[in-house]
């Protein structure tokens, strides 16, 4: 008797080389296109900082690299406006608005996503509809209210009417809806109430979304010009209004203007760099799986 080992069925390798080549061409092409688009986005920002670092006599130079480097524009900006105070004011304003909108958005989104109540959809549509109301419609009533409250020409006056954002509610509701309902029910079974579940289960799982939205709201608030200009008529309390100081009837002082604008962009850029991964995660994923 002879013993013959049972063999496994024959395996025919596919022609992987052709597939690999095609995929490499596609990857290179994709990188070239995306690189071009990236360059298109970066150039204006680069030019802003390059101009701010040119010597005053080279301010209109088209040389791509500013040389010799000069901080004269920053010094002039510092002498013209109170940069540290403006940065602080703008940061406080943007942070308070972003935080307020995050908290109200979180509470409203939680209510809409985790609970069932009468007129839920109607109420949500009303929330969404407020997003469609143009700023000009609410501008005058808000201004009148601030006048009565005596908060005109203060940062508080800029912040209070912006504490709620329909965008925050919509986005957080959408993220919250993607959290498995069983997770909230498990917390209920484990003895948690709605409030405790929100802070111990929902928020920790919503960090990427909260970070992404927080940055978005912060940038929106940071870039806000019209409303602060209306409320802070007698003071240039925020950076965006201070930029106007360099635009006068005699012409525009490009150096200090670019230096101040560069400083205005810096916190947002830093914030994005630090939270980059969470922001991408927050926008790519709609929540938990």
């Amino acid at each position: 008797m002879t013993l013959i080992e049972v063999t496994t069925p024959a395996h025919t390798p596919s022609d992987g080389a052709v597939v690999l080549r095609e995929s490499r061409v596609r990857t290179v092409l994709g990188h070239v296109v995306l690189g071009g688009l990236g360059l298109l986005c970066i150039v204006p920002v680069y030019w802003l900082y390059a101009t701010s670092l040119r010597a005053p006599e080279d301010i209109y130079s088209l040389r791509p690299f500013p040389w010799p480097l000069s901080v004269a524009s920053y010094a002039e900006a510092r002498d013209t406006v109170d940069l540290p105070q403006l940065l602080l004011n703008t940061f406080v304003m943007a942070a308070l608005i972003a935080l307020g909108q995050l908290v109200t958005g979180l509470l409203a989104g939680y209510a809409f996503a985790a609970w069932r109540f009468r007129l839920q959809n109607t109420l949500y549509l009303v929330f969404v509809a407020t997003w469609l109301v143009p700023f000009q419609v609410t501008m005058v009533p808000n201004y009148a209210l601030l006048n009565q409250l005596g908060t005109l020409n203060t940062i508080t006056g800029v912040v209070i009417p912006n504490l709620c954002s329909a965008l925050a509610v919509i986005m957080l509701r959408s993220h919250l809806r993607s959290i498995p309902h069983e997770l909230l029910e498990a917390a209920r079974m484990d003895g948690r109430g709605a409030w405790s579940t929100l802070w111990t289960v929902v928020v920790p799982n919503l960090w990427p979304a909260l970070a992404a939205l927080g940055v978005l709201l912060f940038i929106n608030a940071w870039n806000e010009y019209f409303w602060p200009a209306l409320v802070l008529q007698r003071t240039n309390n925020v950076l965006q209004l201070a930029l106007h100081s360099f635009i006068g009837p005699e012409g525009t002082q490009w150096g200090p203007l670019m230096a101040t604008a560069g400083l205005a962009c810096l916190p947002v850029l830093l914030l994005y760099l630090i939270l980059q991964r969470r922001i991408v995660d927050g926008f790519v994923r709609s929540g938990l799986k």
């Binding site: 069983e182 498990a186 799982n205």
Partner: protein
């Protein structure tokens, strides 16, 4: 240890003409330490019933009593019940240790670490305590979910299809572990599944649900050997029991069920003559007939399936089908004409209109009585 009494529990969804009773007036008494399995197809209301016991879904009517205390309107945290969800519902941001200790931290217990270690040891999770759920396999997640329920020493465990996400091998092993756990804890378990094997292997009693109503409650043996309705007979057992229409006819004081391809003696009797019935036998109780007496099905083999150790032959009898299961080879081929028979005691008889089981009473004058 808890006794759960359910009295006329109803849950209605929707309103007006679109209202649907997901659970329709169910009454059930789950004894202390019992392993009750709620078994039924998707949409039969078993999960809704479990969620009402847990307090996650409010009932539309009826009462739930836990050790005699009315908990119908109580919050889940006031019920002293633990639940294991189908998806396990582990907190993704917490480690295994923190997931297990979560219910204890809610109650501000001081012995959290000791209890977590004890439960982790019992479930073989000591090496995984620092991992997060995403770094665990399905079986490990399932054990963590079980650990989170165990750590509280609850009055009763509610389990909603906890094995449905596991592969076949792991499911078999976990079934045995759950049975062993129930034996050790002697706690009340209410377990929802649509898997008859899980129900048969783990339950001390099975409650079969259909369309929001209870079809039958009984031990696994009772439910399998004496199904109370055609639904239970068809739902439990694989391949399903083949039920064929027949008419009860009497001659010389003897009753027979006669139909297209079906002829079987039912014993002495008179008053059931002319009654429309459904007759059937479990596939493993059927055998290829040789003798001329006894119950018989005559048909043609339509399909023979090889299950490894066994074969299943699907036989067309009249307008219906029956299945025959036996050791391989059965010796049948597609197209063969076959005569099947079985022990008369293994025949199941159901009313053709109500679908309820008919039992043959020993009195010669009362041939058939509906259950």
């Amino acid at each position: 240890m808890s006794r759960i009494q359910i009295e006329g529990l109803t849950r209605r969804f929707g309103s007006g003409n679109h209202a649907v009773n997901a659970v329709d007036g169910i009454s059930l008494d789950v004894a202390d330490g019992e392993f009750l399995v709620l078994l039924g197809p998707s949409g039969c209301g078993k999960s809704t019933l479990l969620r009402m016991i847990a307090g996650l879904t409010p009932p539309t009517g009826g009462r739930i009593l836990l050790d005699g205390r009315d908990i119908t309107a109580a919050e889940p945290r006031e019920r002293n019940l633990a639940m294991v969800f189908q998806s396990y519902a582990l907190y993704p941001h917490l480690t295994v240790a923190k997931n297990i200790g979560f219910p204890l931290r809610t109650r501000r217990r001081k012995d959290v670490d000791a209890k977590v270690t004890e439960v982790a040891k019992a479930l073989g999770l000591e090496q995984l305590l620092d991992r997060r759920p995403r770094a665990l396999s399905g079986g490990q997640r399932q054990r963590v979910a079980l650990g989170r329920a165990l750590v509280r020493d609850p009055g009763a465990f509610l389990l909603d299809e906890p094995l449905s996400n596991l592969d076949a091998t792991l499911r078999t092993a976990t079934r045995a572990e759950l049975t062993d756990l129930h034996r050790r804890l002697r706690s009340t378990f209410v377990y929802v599944t649509h898997d008859q094997i899980e129900a048969m292997t783990m339950a001390t009693r099975i409650a079969v649900l259909n369309g929001g109503r209870l079809e039958q409650v009984g031990t696994p043996e009772e439910v399998y050997d004496a199904p109370a309705s055609t639904f239970v007979a068809g739902f439990i057992g694989s391949p399903a029991i083949g039920l064929l229409p027949a008419e009860v006819r009497g001659a010389d004081g003897e009753l027979r069920a006669v139909g297209d391809g079906v002829d079987m003696p039912l014993g002495p009797g008179h008053d059931a003559s002319g009654r429309e019935v459904l007759v059937g036998a479990r596939p493993e109780h059927l055998r290829i007939g040789t003798g001329a007496v006894g119950p018989e099905w005559r048909g043609t083999v339509r399909l023979v399936e090889n299950l490894g150790g066994e074969e299943v032959a699907h036989v067309t009898v009249g307008g219906g089908r029956v299945a025959l299961r036996g050791p391989r080879p059965l010796g049948l081929a597609v197209g063969d004409a076959v005569r099947l028979t079985c022990d008369p005691d293994r025949i199941h008889l159901f009313c053709a209109t109500s679908g309820r089981r008919l039992v043959r009473t020993p009195e010669p004058r009362r041939a058939a009585v509906a259950v």
